[in-house]
């Protein structure tokens, strides 16, 4: 099964241009509110593949990683995609 799941994210931009995720919609259509952003750093997604800005987010008391993968092209309004890593089965 694919370990990389692209998800729909609602994000906000502050006047300084900083992008922060607000809501995350899981592949089953369920929407979760992001309570807190604990950490933001550049990191490789070892399990899912690729790399990007890794947001450590807290949702309902649980911490998980949410990655923003930038597009390789320089223009257009498609600037990148959000993805999460699938938790290992079992």
């Amino acid at each position: 099964m694919e370990n990389k799941i692209y998800v729909e994210v609602l994000a906000s931009f502050d006047p300084g241009g900083v992008m922060l995720p607000v809501l995350l919609t899981w592949e089953d259509g369920h929407t979760y509110e992001i309570d807190r952003i604990v950490d933001i750093r550049q990191a490789a997604a070892m399990k899912a593949g690729g790399s990007g800005d890794r947001y450590t987010v807290r949702i309902k008391g649980k911490e998980s990683f949410l990655f923003f993968e930038r597009n390789a092209s320089l223009r257009g309004n498609n600037i990148g995609r959000w993805f999460v890593e699938r938790k290992s089965q079992g």
């Binding site: 370990n3 750093r41 899912a48 593949g49 690729g50 930038r70 092209s73």
Partner: protein, 410 residues
């Protein structure tokens, strides 16, 4: 005070990026290869396992598959490599503003005078950061000049740091074969061997006057490199290499069989050259062509232009005249490169010729202005010569955003 220079080399770069993007490739023999259909079918990069099976960069795809059955062949994704190359450079720039790329996967860093003076510690930190942030591995050489730093990065791979200091370079570098040294290619290696020079140490011990006599200025340069006397600077990250020539070349999808076919390819290549000359405000004072036949033998010819120009048609015509005069057609042509050389600024006054028609030239320039204008508004293929329609035997023109390694920055 000794300088602190690092050379960082991303290990089997293309193949590693592919593995980062698709972790299921991890632990498999993988090679990134050009497309066989476009006749670029050679190995561009390979993973560690493929290397162990005997796959070498530059091998034809079928050769690689024969020596490593089960080899996974991937098509290159240049935009991803450019992205990762930039991200790596961004990491280097956290430590110094003197970061000089050498191809996509290698960079020199000069830490002299920076806040962090411990070269080894910085190298180790970079190695860890690149792995954490990008999932790639680097090998880094730390030394007091660019040449030894580069040698150091080749010594231990992957994911390692090697220090070559003023104290230990004689033991570490001098026993290595002379061919390991940058700019000592196969021809120079052969020449050196005839004088009994096989190692870098022997090269350093040779009298520079003798080397100058035999190998010219390059002889003295490689002697300085070998002796650890290189002082070339690491260029600033914003430094643009001055343009010395503008060229365009292509390997055709089928062999070119007659002068007419070569002409059309040359005219097509000249369109881009003209555009680049214009964008950089240069006139070409001469034309150089490189022709490769289908046995992969190649020849290079050059000739001056009577009047410096940026007109594609004139460049292409000169290229064709040169080709028709020099090429003997014993074999069909496989690849052609046209290059505008002896560049001068467009604003520089030009000596007129007695038997030239300047009015006609001016008209042609205005025509070219109009063509440029149409292309800038409606795209590159909005207007072109009728003779360039149909099959030119040229592959889809892939844009490669790559700075190829050039001469050492002095």
């Amino acid at each position: 005070m000794a300088r602190i220079v690092l050379h960082s080399d991303l290990n089997s770069f293309y193949a590693s990026v592919e593995t980062v993007l698709d972790p299921t490739l991890r632990g498999k023999a993988v090679a990134v290869c050009g497309s066989t259909e476009d006749r670029h079918g050679i190995v561009l990069a390979k993973s560690d396992l493929a290397r162990k099976a005997g796959v070498k960069t530059g091998m034809a795809n079928w050769e690689a598959q024969r020596c490593c059955p089960g080899l996974l062949i991937l098509h290159p994704q240049y935009e991803q490599y450019v992205k990762y190359s930039r991200l790596a450079r961004e990491i280097y720039q956290r430590y110094t503003d003197r970061v000089e790329p050498y191809g996509m996967d290698e960079c020199w860093l000069d830490l002299t005078g920076c806040r962090c003076v411990d070269g080894l510690a910085v190298a180790d930190e970079i190695r860890k950061t690149v792995h954490e942030e990008l999932g790639l591995t680097v090998s880094i050489g730390v030394s007091f000049n660019k040449i030894f730093a580069k040698l150091g990065s080749d010594m231990k791979k992957p994911d390692a740091v090697t220090v070559i200091s003023e104290e230990n370079y004689k033991e570490k570098v001098w026993p290595l074969p002379a061919s390991e040294l940058i700019y000592v290619g196969p021809a120079t290696t052969r020449k050196l061997a005839t004088y009994g020079i096989h190692t870098i140490g022997q090269l350093a011990a040779a009298p520079p006057e003798f080397l100058k006599q035999r190998l010219g200025v390059n002889g003295v340069a490689i002697w300085r490199y070998a002796a650890g006397l290189d002082t070339s600077r690491v260029m600033h990250q914003d430094y643009d290499v001055p343009i010395k020539s503008i060229g365009h070349g292509i390997t055709c999808v089928q062999d070119l069989l007659n002068s007419e076919e070569v002409w059309r390819v040359m005219l097509m290549l000249s369109q881009d050259i003209g555009h680049k000359l214009r964008a950089n405000d240069f006139n070409a004072g001469g034309v150089q062509i490189t022709v490769k036949d289908n046995a992969l033998g190649w020849r290079q010819y050059q000739a001056p232009l009577e009047v410096p120009t940026q007109l594609p048609l004139e460049i292409a015509r000169r290229a064709r005249a040169l080709f028709d005069k020099q090429y003997d057609w014993r074999l069909p042509v496989r690849a052609v490169t046209v290059r505008a050389i002896k560049l001068s600024p467009k604003s520089q006054p030009v000596q007129m010729l007695l038997y030239d028609d300047p009015v006609r030239r001016e008209k042609r320039e205005r025509l070219e202005d109009a063509v440029e204008d149409i292309r800038s508004r409606f795209g590159k293929s909005a207007i072109y010569s009728a003779c360039l329609m149909g099959n030119l035997k040229m592959p889809g023109l892939g844009v490669h955003e790559v700075n190829l390694p050039g001469m050492m920055f002095q």
